[in-house]
Symmetry: C2
Subunit: 100 residues, 2 copies
DNA sequence: ATGTGGTGCAACCTCAGGCTTGCACATCAA
DNA sequence: TTGATGTGCAAGCCTGAGGTTGCACCACAT
């Protein structure tokens, strides 16, 4: 579940792009200006984020603007918290047995 | 932040290991029995998870048992939800302007 | 003492991911 | 129409992650 989102979030450049998009939509060319990589690299990263359902694109004339999409992120976070809670329950049970 | 945890969680095998450990601690040899990979591969995955603060190991005689550690997972989930909330606020603001 | 099962270390291989470069196509302004 | 700017496509490079194999080292039981 939501594995695509997690592997998309694994890359630091992609996380930087997401935080940048959280402050307003932007095109790949503009995004590349603030990064030490080429525009094409940014485009590929955006493609990965798009496939993971974390961003969406909209054409405006000759430029393509990208904006964040919270759904996938929320799903990934839910998966993590779910697993964390399971661990907590499990560890609490072990502790209780040890102290019993 | 918590990038190590996210990249550790990116691999499906590692996520499977975590879910397996959530049902009780186990050794690398035992874990490898349920997986289509060698014990050494499992050991390396556990090393990554350990470096990310997601598991811990304890020696019992000649075997090493691994157990989950929720802290890193909670931190990663918090990072995700924080970013998701920021996106929600931003998108809500844009929508409000558009409707205004 | 000896065999057996679990672990640690290291070298090696393979392939996908991240990035670049080059060029063609589309859009807007003069 | 011409030039400038933004995008799309494709081929290619290169490092690192995931995996394997082989062997040496401990701990336990007989």
């Amino acid at each position: 579940m939501s594995g695509q989102a997690l592997s998309a979030l694994a890359d630091p450049t992609r996380r930087e792009l997401l935080e940048r998009l959280a402050r307003g939509e932007a095109s790949a060319t503009v995004l590349a200006r603030d990064l030490p990589i080429s525009r094409q690299a940014v485009v590929q990263h955006l493609g990965v984020l798009d496939a993971a359902g974390l961003v969406r694109s909209s054409r405006h004339g000759r430029e393509v603007r990208w904006s964040p999409r919270p759904d996938g992120l929320i799903a990934a976070a839910a998966w993590l918290t779910g697993l964390a809670e399971e661990w907590d329950r499990r560890l609490a049970a072990i502790k209780a047995i040890a102290e019993g």
